[in-house]
């Protein structure tokens, strides 16, 4: 495993959004990922990449 592959949690606090739990963003290599728990309990991760980014992953 290369050093850049370790997930690095940020210092942002967890938040609630429309009943879906949202964790603070993490980084993994060049990616930023945001974790959510869907209304039915399933996990969802939205990934963004600095070279392709247009969506910050905020939920509706």
């Amino acid at each position: 495993m290369t050093p850049d592959s370790e997930p690095e949690p940020s210092c942002d606090p967890p938040s609630e959004h429309d009943g879906r739990r949202e964790e603070p963003p993490e980084t993994f290599g060049p990616l930023t990922l945001r974790r959510y728990v869907k209304d039915d309990g399933r996990a969802l991760i939205l990934y963004t990449h600095p070279d392709t980014g247009h969506a910050e992953g905020s939920l509706v």
């Binding site: 997930p7 993994f28 990449h49 070279d51 247009h54 992953g57 939920l59």
Partner: protein, 340 residues
């Protein structure tokens, strides 16, 4: 007598999956069929069979306006991804073949655009996808209930696709499936890394190599089972995506995209395939052994004709092919060149 895998009765009745070598159970111990997956060991074949009966209910080829993998537009129909836009999304499959505490099943959505393919993604997006695969391999592979992380894509109704939106899947198996087990057996048979050995043979021969870049070689294997089967192989021995340097991940994305674009150019049509990412097992005796490579199994043998797995393939386990790998490699190499 019914033979099942390990049963955790009552622990998680909606997500019950057996695992490991089978233990005999009486009929009374057979779980009910509703809402659970079940693992049975096929003694004659020496392999596991998964019964995921809830998958019968899964969404089947919905119209684009009802696609569950599209973003949820404000005021629009809710989808699996409750965001108005996204780049790459991964979520737990609503109809899982495997679920915690006996593995996992995830969906990887490549883009929020309903149309396109791995081949039509921007290269930057394809590179990002390699990092997503790496992340999921790391996270799922670290779990105690996961022995093998399998990233794959089914493309086209010819291979059973139920959603057209560009996406792949991940199954995190609680056991080592037969194909990666056979690759480990090949290592033992060849006295070292079989993928390294076979890739060296292909490069030496050259007739079946269809694409190369600095870190990746794509070839039609010497004993291809499918007419246009191709393997995308890391040149350096890397057991999994976590061992790859960033430049190697970029090269892998380039190799995959070149191949998929070449496939689509070959017969000037969307080319169906099964794509299988093979990496080292993350648990069990095979842990850490392997060589990351991506195998493609396209069912087309001509623009209009499919290869079916029939008597010899299913009943005897021997593929009969009507196309020589050298001939298909020649055509595929030209198609990749045309598509570049």
């Amino acid at each position: 007598m019914v033979w099942l895998g390990r049963i955790l009765a009552g622990a998680c009745p909606e997500r019950l999956v057996g695992a490991g070598r089978p233990a005999p159970l009486t009929d009374a111990q057979v779980p009910t069929r509703t809402g659970m997956s079940e693992l049975r060991y096929h003694e004659l074949r020496g392999e596991q069979v998964v019964y995921a009966i809830d998958r019968q209910e899964r969404t089947f080829l919905p119209a684009a306006e009802h696609c569950p993998l599209c973003p949820t537009r404000p005021g629009g129909e809710p989808t699996e991804i409750p965001a108005p836009a996204f780049e790459i999304a991964v979520f737990e499959n609503r109809f899982p073949a495997f679920a915690s505490p006996h593995g996992a099943a995830e969906v990887v959505v490549y883009t929020d655009s309903h149309t396109g393919s791995l081949g039509t993604l921007t290269h930057e997006r394809a590179q990002a996808l390699m990092w997503v695969w790496r992340h999921r391999y790391a996270e799922l592979g670290a779990r105690a209930d996961v022995e093998y992380v399998f990233i794959f894509e089914n493309r086209g109704v010819e291979v059973g696709v139920t959603l057209h939106h560009p996406h792949g899947q991940i199954y995190a198996y609680p056991f080592l499936p037969p194909v990666p087990a056979a690759e480990l057996a090949a290592d033992a048979r060849l006295g070292g890394c079989a993928v390294c050995e076979l890739s060296a043979r292909e490069l030496s021969d050259g007739r079946r190599v269809v694409y190369e870049n600095k870190h990746v070689v794509v070839h039609v294997p010497y004993a291809a089972r499918w007419a246009y089967e191709a393997h995308v192989v890391m040149r350096a021995h890397r057991t999994d995506l976590l061992e790859c340097e960033p430049a190697e991940l970029d090269a892998l994305a380039a190799g995959l995209q070149a191949l998929v674009r070449g496939y689509d150019a070959l017969f000037d049509r969307v080319f169906p395939y099964v794509m299988a990412v093979h990496q080292a097992p993350t648990g069990g005796a095979g842990r850490g052994r392997g060589h990351v490579h991506v195998e493609f199994y396209p069912p087309l043998r001509t623009a209009e004709k499919l290869k079916y797995l029939a008597g010899s393939e299913q009943g005897a386990g021997t593929f009969i092919s009507d196309t020589l790998p050298e001939e298909s490699a020649l055509a595929l190499r030209a198609a990749i060149g045309d598509a570049t």
